[in-house]
């Protein structure tokens, strides 16, 4: 950041023609691309915002979603998100703790575990949908349900979450661990009272990323949580997540673009709000 600015000042006097040309070319390409992309998005965003109203959040969809609101979709989305996090956070943190506290960094087991986790993060998301469909919907007999969807998402997100959480935990000041040991704290005590709290800001950032990925995921949820427009009444009911709703309105419903745009705006607002809320918690925690 400031490194760049420092350099800019340092060579301010050495502006050759080639340098100016390079600046212009790079600037035009960068600005041009970003502007074009920004313009494209703004059209959809503006259309979406114009269509938004309080009713949109509180009504049920009518006419296959062309008209009316998105209430049941919001319910499904929130349910799936909460369930997914309920699986991801404990398992992810436990794995991260195992990797950073309870095993030697270079032991065979931990190296294999890390490799397995990294490999899992590389799989395209739709593959997780296939897996989820075969395992949760098929073998375990859960069918198209909110539960299947959450489990599938959890499987998809845990590797990434665990690895990122491990990195955060490792970054915790070594001195803190030494102090805890010197004070005679038990291992678990040290983790609970010293390490986790000091790693919390970083962990919260990772949480934000995980939420983002969960909300954005469409294909994998599509064939595990289903398509139904009704709000799920139990964990075993199918439900439509916001991302799937956007997809359906855009592709399958003629004249659905307006509500699709609004839903997209809602999705992005939802993500932004969650991120900001967690950043807020982070900030207050640090004090």
């Amino acid at each position: 950041m400031s490194r760049g600015a420092v350099y800019a000042d340092a060579s301010g006097s050495a502006r050759s023609a080639a340098d100016r040309l390079a600046a212009m070319v790079l600037g035009v390409i960068s600005a041009g691309v970003l502007l074009v992309v920004g313009l494209a998005f703004s059209g959809t965003i503006i259309e979406g915002m114009q269509n938004l109203s309080l009713a949109f959040f509180l009504e049920h969809p009518r006419s296959a979603g062309r008209a009316g609101g998105i209430l049941p979709v919001l319910v499904s989305t929130a349910t799936v998100l909460l369930l997914t996090l309920a699986f991801v956070v404990p398992v992810g943190i436990a794995t991260a703790l195992y990797l950073s506290e309870f095993s030697r960094g270079d032991s065979r087991a931990s190296r294999n575990l890390r490799t397995a986790l990294d490999v899992l993060t590389s799989f395209p998301s739709i593959v997780f949908g296939l897996f989820g469909n075969a395992l949760f919907c098929g073998l375990l007999g859960l069918g198209y349900s909110v539960l299947s969807g959450s489990l599938t998402l959890a499987v998809m997100i845990v590797p990434f979450f665990a690895r990122a959480a491990e990195r955060i935990l490792r970054d915790v000041d070594f001195e803190l661990r030494l102090n805890a040991e010197a004070l005679g704290m038990s291992r678990l005590g040290a983790i609970g009272f010293i390490i986790l709290p000091s790693a919390l800001p970083g962990l919260l950032s990772v949480l934000v990323l995980a939420i983002g990925r969960a909300l954005a995921e469409t294909a994998a949820v599509l064939f595990t949580a289903g398509y139904s427009l009704r709000a799920p009444e139990s964990l075993f009911d199918p439900g439509r997540v916001l991302s799937v709703h956007i997809y359906d309105l855009a592709m399958n419903v003629v004249g659905g673009e307006r509500n699709a745009s609004s839903s997209a705006v809602v999705l992005m607002l939802f993500m932004a709000t969650l991120s900001l809320a967690i950043m807020g918690i982070k900030h207050r925690w640090k004090r």
């Binding site: 760049g4 060579s11 040309l21 390409i29 799989f123 956007i246 673009e257 997209a264 992005m268």
Partner: protein, 268 residues
Amino acid sequence: MAVVALLGGLCYFLVAESWGAIATLGLHRFFVDPSWYPQASGEGTFGLAPMLLTSLLLGALSLSLAVPISVSLVFFQRLYAGRRLGASLRLFVELLGAVPSVVYGLVGLSVVVPMINRASPPGSSLLAGVLVLVPMIVPTIAIVLDGSLERETRNLFMNAAALGLSRATLAFRVLLPSLRPTIAAGCVLALGRAFGETMAVLMVTGNVIQYPGSITLPVRALTSNIALEMPYALGVHRSALYLCGLILVMFTLPLFVLAKWSRRRGPA
């Protein structure tokens, strides 16, 4: 622990489900059959070639556009832009990376496809797919590149300043060569992402199964195929779709391993 079981389970399932297709049809049919009509009367055909080619082309073309753009962005932001402009650029790129792929697909449908349609109907095409994929993978490359630039090149900056080099010289003659491994790693990651991208591609490429003879023809990528047909596929058809998934993994996994391995080597 349980995670290794998970990995094993995933692999097992993919293979197990695909096995049906392989067993019934024999592996070669996936490449030799004329095209993909799994539910045609009689046995149906399962030629993967058009879709595989589409996915590969999508990846290659969007990558070739995304790399120059990412490099320009990162260099401009680090070397030429002032502090505030640079920070806002970086923020914008990060935001771009955070947008869900459905939304990219939506914007593609509303903006890109009609534009192409005016020049050459029907609009949904390989070109649309590429144009939508590029802003999706630029953040991937740019973030990797930026991170590397910030971490590993402080000495280079100071040395170049001491030598009185202009910024252009620094950028093109010094940084670019030394960043080549990072750029390569970023490319590989981006290619993996492009190859595995489902929704945005699904929404703008038209999903007609044919060889991408020209850039404006509607085509179907391998990922889109899985997403489109899973809801109603049965029996052999279903197994065949799992095989598609297996092939996807077989492509993205080596890419990922390559990226990790070259990252570990570090810049020269």
